[in-house]
Symmetry: C2
Subunit: 158 residues, 2 copies
Amino acid sequence: MSLQPPALDPKSLAPYTGCGYPEPYRARVLPREVRRVGDALGLTRIGINVTTLAPGRESSMRHWHTHEDEFVYVLEGELLLRTDAGEQPLTAGMCAGFPAGSRDGHQLVNRGARPALYMVVSNRDPEDMAHYSDADVDLMWNAPHARGRMTRRDGTPY
Amino acid sequence: MSLQPPALDPKSLAPYTGCGYPEPYRARVLPREVRRVGDALGLTRIGINVTTLAPGRESSMRHWHTHEDEFVYVLEGELLLRTDAGEQPLTAGMCAGFPAGSRDGHQLVNRGARPALYMVVSNRDPEDMAHYSDADVDLMWNAPHARGRMTRRDGTPY
């Protein structure tokens, strides 16, 4: 019997399979399946996504948020967490947290042989911007003046 | 090798084993172990707890929040979700969400034979209050005028 609201089986949701990044970054992320669990449950103050990341792919480019705490929890498989502390393998049941405004950029990389499943949680703040950490990533996510738009670091659009 | 911040293994945290409820409600909850993962990671805009609930126990009394979205995700075992929709069993990988201000009270009950493990997520809002749904629960959690204090429904203290 299927669950009724306010309960939900995330596997019942159709995944978002796109990626807001321009190339060449998009190809480093996809294929990736994002199930927008919080949206499906009517939550507006927190965002909850359950994501499947293919072997060899990156959850995002290494980044940090100005106004949103972010939390990741590994559900299946293994992911490499990359931050200023270096690289740390996270297996099911392990997690990491990134306070808003902390300039230590993070990303998860699936260097395993099978898909990895993880949950991403954040508060939602319309003032939020994301800055990218790695020198080879010429990317910025701008808000609120250009909400949801990616630009190069110098502000020029893709 | 143990994880370094911003990574964390929740099992490495000492649990909170108390309960803010007065009796007779406390005895319906304990033993329960709450690992305050978000606090340990320095998060202040979202709260993240990983909780172990013993067989026969209730996660909380059935309640809803005025200013905080709440989200629960089952990690191990089975929990019965009680809401206005009735009772629904949730197994590992299933979840539920409760938007701030929605008056449909919820609780999780462990009717299984083994401990259940689940994650609880919310935004944090100092204006938040919790109201209790069941006629046999004469309880209110008041904020901000009496932050974190439990009273009877008529406002008298325990």
